[in-house]
Amino acid sequence: MGFLSNWFKSSESSSDIAKNRLKVAITSDRAICSPELMEQMKNDIIKVISKYVDIDTDGLDIKVTRTELDDDSGTVNAVLASIPIRATKPLRR
């Protein structure tokens, strides 16, 4: 029976769904700001970076995550942004 239901169900398993939902929930839990503020920050970051390079807004990923400090003294919350660049804009002077 197991393989039959696997056959017909959508590609995403329930454990993947759980993982993705958790990532989103935890990102906003860790952020000192609300999801709305996160969204605003994201838009502002896009605005600033778009001035210099042409970015792929669909592939954009901005999250708050826990990162080890370089000197091994512990961890801090950090904003991690992955912003794919389509093309660099020619410099205007």
């Binding site: 197991g2 398993s13 329930s14 454990s15 759980a18 958790l22 826990r66 512990g74």
Partner: protein, 262 residues
């Protein structure tokens, strides 16, 4: 000087008390002198899990209020003479103890014991603050469920804010069969989300229920959970131990045979 370890989770019912009992028993089996402290004032449980509920005379609140000496309140385990329990009070509430009193208590126990394990109550209020006050390191227990993992993330953040730097993760009640089907997050998934080091994976094992019924922790016994807990104890001591293969590999014939065994 002994080491003070808090066992915490945020969410209730994920196995803090069971883990405290089993890790404490395992460390005692490995020859360490261990004290277990139940810090869940008003909802004490570690005594019944250890099977020591009939021997309680004094409790944690009696000790901090100086109604008795620490030694009078420590109950010796049934099986291991180097394992002791300081039970919680059942009739008081969390405000009966302060973080400063807990620091003083664990500070005194350090001179007597190799390991002091604190069973933390669920939640992030007073009881949690009391439990972590004197701790050097923490073991965060979670199950591979969204609610438990999310709460564990909060707890990890609070431990960091309180400058407890050594924090390790125990993924409890893992079902390898469900992970394989894609219906349960794997321990790797949980580690990826929480971004802290793993110290143990405990499978969902019916032997745990039986051992709790009997009031005898099962660390070291010949079942998967017993082995998993013993491995955690060795890792707490700094040993490198490979993780158990929890996969239930059954061929078609074995499944067929299992039907007839019932």
């Amino acid at each position: 000087m002994g080491e003070v370890i808090v066992i915490t989770s945020g969410k209730g019912g994920v196995g803090k008390t069971t883990s405290t009992a089993n890790i404490g028993t395992g460390l005692a089996m490995l020859g360490k002198k261990v004290a277990l402290i139940d810090t869940d004032i008003g909802l004490r449980n570690l005594d019944v899990v250890m099977g020591l509920e009939n021997r309680i005379v004094y409790n944690l609140v009696d000790v901090v209020e100086n109604n008795c000496r620490i030694k009078q309140a420590l109950i010796k385990d049934k099986r291991y003479p180097n394992l002791y329990l300081l039970p919680s009070a059942q009739t008081k509430d969390k405000s009966a103890v302060t973080p400063e009193q807990m620091k003083k208590l664990t500070g005194e126990l350090r001179n007597e014991f190799d390991y002091i394990l604190l069973d933390c109550p669920a939640g992030i209020e007073q009881g949690f603050k009391n439990a972590i006050a004197g701790a050097d390191r923490a073991l965060v227990v979670t199950t591979p469920e969204v609610s438990a993992v999310r709460d564990a993330d909060r707890i990890i953040g609070l431990l960091e804010a309180n400058e407890i730097r050594r924090t390790h993760l125990i993924v409890n009640r893992l079902r390898a069969d469900m992970v394989k089907e894609g219906n349960m997050m794997s321990s790797d998934d949980v580690v990826e989300i929480l971004a802290i080091d793993l110290i143990g994976i405990v499978p969902d094992d019916e032997h745990i229920v039986i051992s709790t019924n009997n009031g005898e922790p099962l660390t070291g016994s010949d079942c998967q959970a017993g082995q998993a807990y013993m491995n955690i104890c060795k890792r707490v001591l700094g040993e490198e131990v490979p993780y158990l293969d929890l996969e239930v590999t059954k061929t078609f014939f074995q499944k067929f045979a299992a039907i007839f065994k019932r």
